[in-house]
């Protein structure tokens, strides 16, 4: 599961249960299976989706990771790959798709736009999909090269291989709260602040 944001000022607790021999062996087996048959839910929206398609096609061949079975229905998917820009109009859709995916599920944010809004610091764009759904791996680039995406996938596999059943917080559903937010509003404003060059590019003449 994604990075659980600790509520303000608090540190998340590490569960006190220590895994025994049997659960670690079982964990190993389960994680090995999960990591090598991740069925992607390709949430391809823009240019990054073209590179995602290139990753899936012959030369880069995503099936080496056991991922060639694109799951266009979220209900059979394990990992959501958001490849491309995410405007506000699409935000409820990706949230719905994420909610429809069964546990265990992971998310990869592919590209600068999905991760931070990229060059589109405009009225229409979500500044990072982590304000909408939890994200496990961010792949930088505009667009990331297929090699970059594959590195992200391998990082995710590594992460999965380190999971344990003894930690129930991994499968905790992170829902939109009754105020309609997924992360606290102050955090959204904070991480959506313009940074770098775009600070200076708000004058139109």
């Amino acid at each position: 599961m994604g990075l659980t944001l600790p509520s303000d000022g608090e540190i998340a607790e590490v569960p006190a249960v220590s895994p025994n021999w049997l659960t670690t062996r079982l964990d190993f087996l389960v994680n090995w299976g999960r990591a090598n048959s991740l069925w992607p839910m390709p949430f391809g929206t823009a240019c990054c989706a073209i590179e995602f398609m290139a990753t899936a096609a012959g030369r880069f061949d995503i099936s080496r990771f056991g991922m060639e079975r694109m799951s266009f229905s979220p209900r059979q998917a394990d990992v959501l790959i958001c490849a491309g820009r995410l405007p506000f109009k699409l935000a409820p859709i990706i949230r719905r798709v994420w909610d429809q995916m069964p546990q265990p599920k992971w998310a990869i944010s592919m590209g600068a736009c999905a991760s931070t809004g990229g060059i589109f610091d405009t009225y229409a764009m979500v500044q990072g999909i982590d304000t909408i759904i939890p994200v496990d791996v961010y792949v930088p680039g505009c667009p990331p090269r297929p090699e970059g995406l594959m590195y992200g996938i391998m990082l995710l596999q590594k992460k999965i291989k380190g999971e344990t059943m003894a930690d129930p917080s991994l499968r905790q559903e992170l829902l939109v709260n009754d105020q309609g937010f997924f992360v606290p509003p102050a955090k959204i404003d904070e991480i959506s602040e313009p940074f770098g060059n775009s600070v200076h590019q708000t004058r139109s003449a």
Binding site: P42, F43, G44, T45, A46, C47, A49, I50, E51, M53, A54, A57, G58, R59, M70, F72, G84, R85, P87, K89, L90, I93, V97, I119, F120, T122, Y123, A124, M125, C142, P143, R145, Q201, T202, R203, S204, A205
Partner: protein
């Protein structure tokens, strides 16, 4: 392609007198009672659906399997390009254009540079023109290849996808060697190019043009006389020439309906009038003709590429950029050693290139249709208005008309035949 040379190879039952599979709906000839209590059904496709080629959403009103009404909902990828353009220098808009129609980024770069040059009254060198033609035609090929691959998938053929993506990778390699990026090329600058082609690059492109048509031949063998392909595409999604003009269609959509209009021929830019190539024109305006037109366009692009390569060899060593360093960056070495060049460099980076007050519209023939950039300038270095005339947006607007009365499964084929790219539709 003024006359159809292809006959149906197989005599499938139910061919009409013109040799096309007849598409009589079931129950024709028997009295069907309209008021059997059948209700219209609503089917929602998208915005996240593999066959909509992006985040397009279609709401279909069905009666049985026949589409009564099709309502597209767009805007799911609206990112504010045009607004953003008002906050950028002209040269800084080039990277934005990569990301509108991301299937043919180099052609968009070229269009932007041409529009800005028209606005500022800048002449470009001959070598630059030739390189831009190469960029445009390479884009046409990769864009049509994506169309071919994805349309094949939509209609149940997976192999062409792998073929076309293999060829795309070859162009991507060339693109990368030239611009440093596979997809977001940002190739042009006002008054010239961001980079010249590297040494030996031409040989790579020659190799591509020499062998690439083999793939097209294979596709041709596999599809053009294939009775399943013909059955699903002929006579589906028909638009007459008058309708196509009335709907402001452009590009292969317009030509497949029999209107012989190609911006490259009818208002030439980049010296296209001096190249020898044909414009394929369809006659039935159906999906099949759109397929034939696009396939033929790839052969023609290949021809243009070969001619352009010959010219490039002739122009070896000729200057690439204009020598007016108020609009294009001087070579780095000079900017470091020559005071005047350094000032030009500094001013361009910090202040951009101002355009005189005025406005200019320039359209080019993009793979999807006529892409136009319309600039309104007020004398500053940033445009007052940067308008994209998006070919796929305008082509898609006729989808409700095309789908009316079609079968549900045809909607997917029709949508594929329009060749849309959502980045450009929603901008």
């Amino acid at each position: 392609m003024s006359t159809r040379t292809v006959e149906m190879a197989l005599a499938t039952p139910g061919l009409d007198d013109r040799g096309r599979p007849s598409r009589l709906p079931l129950g024709v000839g028997t009295a069907v009672d309209d008021d059997l209590g059948a209700e219209h059904m609503l089917v929602n496709i998208g915005p996240q659906h593999p066959a909509t080629h992006g985040v397009l959403r279609l709401v279909l009103e069905l009666e049985g399997e026949t589409v009564k009404r099709c309502i597209p909902h767009i805007g799911y990828l609206h990112s504010g390009f045009e607004k953003l353009g008002e906050y950028r220098h002209y040269n800084q808009i080039v990277p934005l254009t990569d990301r509108t129609d991301y299937l043919s980024p180099m052609a968009n770069n070229v269009c932007l540079a041409l529009a800005a040059e028209k606005l500022m009254g800048i002449e470009i060198t001959e070598r630059c023109q030739v390189l831009r033609v190469i960029a445009c035609e390479m884009s046409r090929v990769i864009s049509h290849l994506v169309w071919l691959g994805t349309t094949g998938i939509d209609l149940g053929a997976f192999t062409p996808f792998l073929w076309s993506f293999y060829q795309r990778e070859r162009i991507y390699n060339l693109q990368e060697a030239w611009t440093g990026a596979r997809l977001t090329t940002s190739l042009t600058r006002i008054g010239g190019m961001m980079a010249d082609v590297p040494d030996g690059w031409e040989a790579g492109l020659r190799d591509f043009t020499a062998t690439f048509t083999k793939t097209l031949d294979e596709v041709d063998t596999m599809f053009t006389r294939n009775s399943i392909w013909c059955g699903r595409t002929q006579g589906v999604g028909v638009l007459t020439a008058d309708e196509a003009i009335n709907y402001s269609l452009s590009g292969p959509m317009l030509r497949a309906s029999g209107v012989d209009y190609d911006v490259r021929k009818d208002r030439p830019y980049l010296g296209y009038e001096t190249y020898d190539f044909d414009v394929p024109v369809g006659e039935h305006g159906d999906i099949y003709d759109r397929y034939r037109v696009r396939l033929e366009e790839m052969y023609q692009s290949n021809r243009i590429l070969e001619q352009a390569l010959d010219r490039l060899a002739r122009l070896k060593g000729a200057p690439l950029n204009t020598d007016d360093h108020r609009v294009i960056l001087p070579p780095k070495g000079r900017a470091m050693s020559d005071m005047e060049a350094m000032i030009h460099h500094f001013k361009q980076v910090m202040e951009g290139v101002p355009a005189p007050a005025g406005e200019a519209y320039l359209g080019v023939e993009n793979p999807k249709g006529e892409l136009g950039y319309y600039f309104v300038a007020d004398g500053t270095a940033k445009p007052v208005r940067w308008r994209i005339r998006p070919p796929s947006f305008i082509n898609l607007a006729c989808l409700p008309k095309l789908c009316e009365g079609a079968l549900l499964s045809d909607v997917i084929a029709i949508n594929a035949s329009v060749d849309i790219v959502m980045g450009e539709i929603d901008r």
